[in-house]
């Protein structure tokens, strides 16, 4: 019994310590953004990497998400004779929930894993140590630009996701299944409020912070060679994805 209690205590301490380190990491990254702002070119490169290079995967997943929504909702709403609100239902599902969450999960898989691997390799090949020996701040080059870029790119990708998804729903609900095209968009105009739009934007900004924070942290603290980097990458993707979903729940309950 004592052994079990001791083990639980050890695990709790380990968890709290790790959480403390992670929070310190985030706070220091924010401090570096203010105290040692990097060159704009570093941020632009990261926006290109996290944002522009994710466009294709976002476009593809948004199209099919919108199409599936159009298909599912059309038949469900038809049962109640409410297919006229298809546009509103698709738009609200995407803008409030699916757009921010799914675009963040896609970016985690595509860019987050690459961020962890890149920083992890720099760690194990002593490139981060080399920066430190030059009296340069590694966070200025490796962490802070990614954090800023994720905060800029995620809302943009989320907006693209929403628009593409809405048109995906339109193609299926209106063009393929014969819904009313006027009702699809006019319902959206009256029922989608600014509050819905900015709650989606707030979500995607916070998801951007989560992705950059977790993925940079895991890479920065990678050890034990290639296997360590691979472990860190897996952990970063899993942890970011889970945290996005948990944070989404809390944020939704506050913003609704």
């Amino acid at each position: 019994m004592l052994l079990v209690i001791r083990k639980m205590g050890e695990l709790t301490l380990c968890f709290v310590r790790e959480l403390g380190r992670m929070l310190n990491f985030l706070l220091y990254a924010l401090y570096v953004i203010v105290r040692h702002p990097g060159k704009p070119i570093h941020i632009i490169k990261q926006v290109h990497f996290i944002g522009a290079k994710s466009f294709f995967v976002i476009f593809l997943t948004a199209s099919f998400t919108g199409m599936v929504l159009g298909l599912q909702l059309y038949y469900t709403l038809k049962k109640f004779g409410s297919e006229g609100v298809l546009g509103t239902a698709v738009a609200l599902s995407l803008i409030r929930e699916l757009g921010p969450v799914l675009s963040a999960l896609m970016v985690t898989g595509r860019a987050g894993s690459a961020i962890t691997a890149e920083i992890g390799i720099k760690r194990i090949t002593e490139q981060i140590d080399a920066l430190e020996t030059m009296a340069l701040e590694p966070f200025k080059y490796l962490v802070s630009p990614k954090l800023l870029a994720a905060v800029i790119a995620l809302p943009l990708l989320c907006s693209i996701y929403d628009v593409v998804g809405i048109y995906g729903g339109y193609v299926v609900g209106v063009k393929l299944l014969g819904g009313n095209p006027g009702a699809y968009f006019s319902g959206m105009e009256t029922d989608v409020e600014w509050k819905d739009v900015y709650s989606g934007i707030i979500k995607s900004v916070s998801f951007g912070i989560i992705i950059a924070w977790i993925c940079c942290y895991k890479g920065y603290n990678a050890s034990h060679g290639a296997e360590g980097v691979s472990r860190a990458t897996t952990a970063a993707v899993v942890m970011s994805s889970v945290l996005i979903l948990i944070w989404d729940y809390f944020l939704t309950s506050v913003l609704l």
Binding site: K122, T125, E126, Q127, D129, A130, T133, M134, A135, E137
Partner: protein, 248 residues
Amino acid sequence: MIELHDVVKSFDGQAVLDHLSLAVPKGLITAVIGPSGEGKSVLLKHMIGLMRPRSGRVMVDGEDITHLGREALNRVREKFGMLFQNAALFDSMTVFENVAFPLEEKTKLSRGEIRDRVHEALEHVGLKGVDRKYPDELSGGMKKRVGLARALLLNPQIILFDEPTTGLDPIIGRAIHQLIKDTHARYGFTAVIVSHEIPEIYDISDQVAMLYRGKIVEMGTPEEIQRSTDPVVRQFISGSLEGPIHLV
């Protein structure tokens, strides 16, 4: 001058540096020799604050760096240059960008001045026409030369060399040693070289320290080390299998 007083460092409960004390005199080349896995690189990383001791003190030019914050530590690190075991070149940058990086980030030199300084540094280490190559297109010896050019560029007062010739053939290894000797004669920096290249290291060092089981077991001029009667030192420099040093 770098001084380590009673430094203790352990990993997973195993002491790597065990109440180690060492003084590195200014302007001289000090070699740290010892069997693999004895903590020579760990010792070097303590000197520049990349690692912190569990107890003891690390002093650089009379300043205790053991508990310095990041910014104060960076101020001390301005005095240092370091050549890593695998050169630690930035893999996404070309040779030119690697060498130019510290100048671009820490000075206000014009592009033309940076270009001239980089070319001069690369020529000095015997490299020409490799500006546009990436680190993975270079041989081990070339990488070390680029690393040395980068370390020398800001004229540091102290340069730390972590096994500068490991993994190189004897001719390239000798060339790197000669390069260190020549640049030291030219710039007069304090150097600490971690190595197990015996007897080559005697040719370039002013003093040699033998690290074993977390302690400096002997320190002296290369001649004194070669005449040492300490059984650990004798076994190590002769490369004998018989003696107090056991293969793990």
